[in-house]
Amino acid sequence: MISILRSMWLVFLHVFHKRETVEYPEVKPYLAPRYRGRIVLTRDAEMKERCVACYLCAAACPVDCISLQATEDADGRRFPEFFRINFSRCIFCGFCEEACPTYAIQLIPDFELAEYNRQNMVYEKEHLLISGEGKYPGYNFYKNAGVNVGVKGKGEGDNEEKPVDVKELLP
Amino acid sequence: MNVFFYIAAVVAIISTIMAISGRNAIHSLLYLILSLLAISVIFYLLSAPFIAALEVIIYAGAIMVLFIFVTMMLNIGLERETEKKWLKPCMWIVPSLLAAVLLVNLILALKNVKSIQPDEEAILPKQVGISLFSTYLLGVEIAAILLMAGVIGAYHLGSQKKKVKHRFLEIN
């Protein structure tokens, strides 16, 4: 009997406690910079697409929500002809980001992806591509490695040795 | 007042007939409850509100709930076959003849009874209580002893022997 009254009193005291509810649309929660939310495709410092359409993200995706088709421009620089992510399938695991060799695909802290029409959850390349560099400003894949597509010549990259001239190989 | 009396009386008679003739046990019980309610209305019109209230509380509210409870537990469905067997003419002719004799007897007896005029003043719980505990004290005490016997019997039937063994180890 006393324990019942005591528990009623203790529950009553909760009137004076702090509310736990976050009133979401008005009060936004803090999201860490590394939060895995909506997926974007970034550009390099010259505002050219970073993606080289290597298909590694599509291969890494556990739910097969990424589909793309590679193509080349006149310089031989590869880029995706289309790039499509079905966000109604995506589980935001971040494997695509880890697989990407060029830091092109990135997950950003944004989770507000609700749509009334399910088809609107399928994002095309123009929806995914942002005009910014994302988490790795200044990085350009073609300046470090890769073939000559007009960004740098062979062996002129930042961390590259000059190519070995086999004809100069003298003892 | 007369109009209300006749309405209640008609409801009581019809619902009683439905209660007897119904096939579905629960529906019959519902008609019986209705008839009890109609009878309590009649009691009220006879300026006995206390008895009317007790009729509702005890008969309609408690005893009939127990009836329904038991009927639900036993899950009595539509047993047409057995009921048809009971309704053979040789089964009901003799009792109904006897009942008809009783009915004639009753009508003859009613002719001689002066009609009871209901008192204008309502019989309140206090008067009922006083008469119960003075004039009818013996009846009350006998009823109390009967109830006590019922309580003890129910306790005896309901009491469980304390189990010594685990139920898996019991032999039966």
């Binding site: 909760h14 | 409870f69 639900m72």
Partner: protein, 314 residues
Amino acid sequence: MKYVFIIAGVLIITLSIAAGLIWVERRLLSVWQDRLGPNRVGPFGLGQVVADTIKLFFKEDWVPSFSDRPVFILAPGILLITILLTFAVVPFGPNFYVFDSNIGVLFFLGNSSLGVYSIVLGGWASNNKYSLIGAMRASAQMLTYEVFMGLSLMGVVMMADSFSFCKIVEAQKDGWFFIPQFIGFIVFFIAGIAETHRLPFDIPEAEGELIAGYHSEYSGMKFGMFFVGEYLGITLISALISTLFFGGWLGPSFLPPVFWFLFKTFFFICVFILLRASLPRPRYDQLMELGWKILLPLSLLNLLITGAILIFLK
């Protein structure tokens, strides 16, 4: 004409309290659980009442094909009728009652015992084993608690020397009955919770065990009637507690008596909700044991002592 106004007033007050409780209960529960509760629809979320009502009205009202159709439809109506009928004898103010019956307390007891049928028949007519178990539990629980609900009120009746609610209120002018009748008050309160099968005694519903118990198969406005019936039951028991034990409309005269009555009623409604927020559900046999082994002897003892003292004082 005045009569019509009083009936309309009583109906409007009780039904709006019952509907408003949809919102009050959810807000109060959230207060005691460190949440905010519904606050989106309208100011303070008050529009939630309207939203829920509209939702209930427009839901599909499905009668299962395996049910006992007439009884299934009848059952929720019985609950509302019996509870609303009881409000007729509750005095809201000195001249604000539908009728002052000289067997008012018995009228309430009779109606509450008829209210059992709605749950028992609803559970049985659903033809669903969980509903049936709920109905069984309800009938046993409510029969048990009716017994000493009546007995616990007899102390009050003896002190007021009448079954009429108005006379009972007037008899409390010198002192409210909850002091001399404290045991009666406690027993009546517990029995009232069990009669309205509110938490913690919501054993007939028992969401975790029986889905929704007796109203598992109900939908649409038929469910809505059970829903409103439960809130009306809370309102009724709170109103009766304030009438029988806390002086009804009596109170300091700077506010109208109706206000005092509604204030006390609302206080007990809040206590009901606090009970829901704080206590777990007992097991079925624990409930029965509490009833027959503790509360029944207590109420009999209360009856005996009250009677003895009253005779001694005379």
